[in-house]
Symmetry: C2
Subunit: 199 residues, 2 copies
Amino acid sequence: MRPRHPKSKVRILEKAIPLFARAGFSGVSMRDIAKKVGVSAAALYYHFPDKRALYLQAMTQSFADKARALLDVLTTTGTSEERLSGFINRFCKVMQQDPDFLAFLQREMLDGDEIRMQMIAEQVFQEPFRAIEELSKELAPDFDPHMLAISMAGLVIFHLERKTLHLYLPGGRPEHNDPEVIAQHVTKLLLRGLKERDG
Amino acid sequence: MRPRHPKSKVRILEKAIPLFARAGFSGVSMRDIAKKVGVSAAALYYHFPDKRALYLQAMTQSFADKARALLDVLTTTGTSEERLSGFINRFCKVMQQDPDFLAFLQREMLDGDEIRMQMIAEQVFQEPFRAIEELSKELAPDFDPHMLAISMAGLVIFHLERKTLHLYLPGGRPEHNDPEVIAQHVTKLLLRGLKERDG
DNA sequence: GTCTATAGCCGGATAGAC
DNA sequence: GTCTATCCGGCTATAGAC
């Protein structure tokens, strides 16, 4: 249960996250954030030393607990195929339910400096990435596990990030945005690609 | 052969492209561009009505001729497999040789308004996309051709856009940035994934 | 076609009252 | 903790000389 009047700092971050995720660091002003929160711009400086610190904390907040959500489903029991399918499903769902997280991730891959990238890698992706590499080794030992893990992430992420372009490309249909449809497509593509031979 | 002193407008666009591609519309000022070109900011307004127009023309310029480069290799003769492999190779090479194009594309997928997205779709991606859908139908009639085309693009693009993150993820090696290595990986993954059964 | 100068606005950030 | 008022620099864009 969330309190009706959360601490100011939390309220500021809650409002700042979607703004920064959608317009980026230089696309949002402190006044924009203050207006959304319903306070003066000066009030923000009581809680954060400067704009960069506010951005960094907003991003960190948006990334929190994402690693755990992805790891959980990777460490359950079952065949390799079941774990892959479970992971792809969870990944699609997490990304679709939190568009701010996806936008932040895309933004950081474009603009992120070394320090922020290192933080993201260590705090969010390193553990799940390792688990996916292990799964890759089980499923397809003749593939480079690092590249295969990148491929899995890329397949899911690109299906979700191409949303706006999708409207104007031929053959686009509404169900192509359904995370379950995407997960099913990606899993089918991967599994057939991972088994060297199958009936 | 490029003339030693190209028209000012062309010179401005040449300098503006990498700046906008790397920092985005709001991350670059008219003064930044003017400084790179070696003129005053006021001079830019002789050639472009405002900053938005300059950005749009820079983006359009960066996207020009990309459709043709991708289409050429799709319409050559050969088996479906050869055309797929040729396309993936070309796609990787084009994207890697022109990082500004890749950055612009990522940026527009994040920030692009409907008008710009429609322009990109119609002028750059519609024709090659249709050709890839046709190829998908030949190779794997039981897949949704639209989704498969998205998957192909996503695989290539994500391997190239994750460059900065890659340093901090386990198992990353220098050759993972080689476009030929990426193309080979993606082709292998796709072809095994596309054939329903193989020996 | 390019310059200098400048208008007018908006940005981040601070001072000091309450 | 939040306010109003403000500093000051950078921003887009224009005016007018050359």
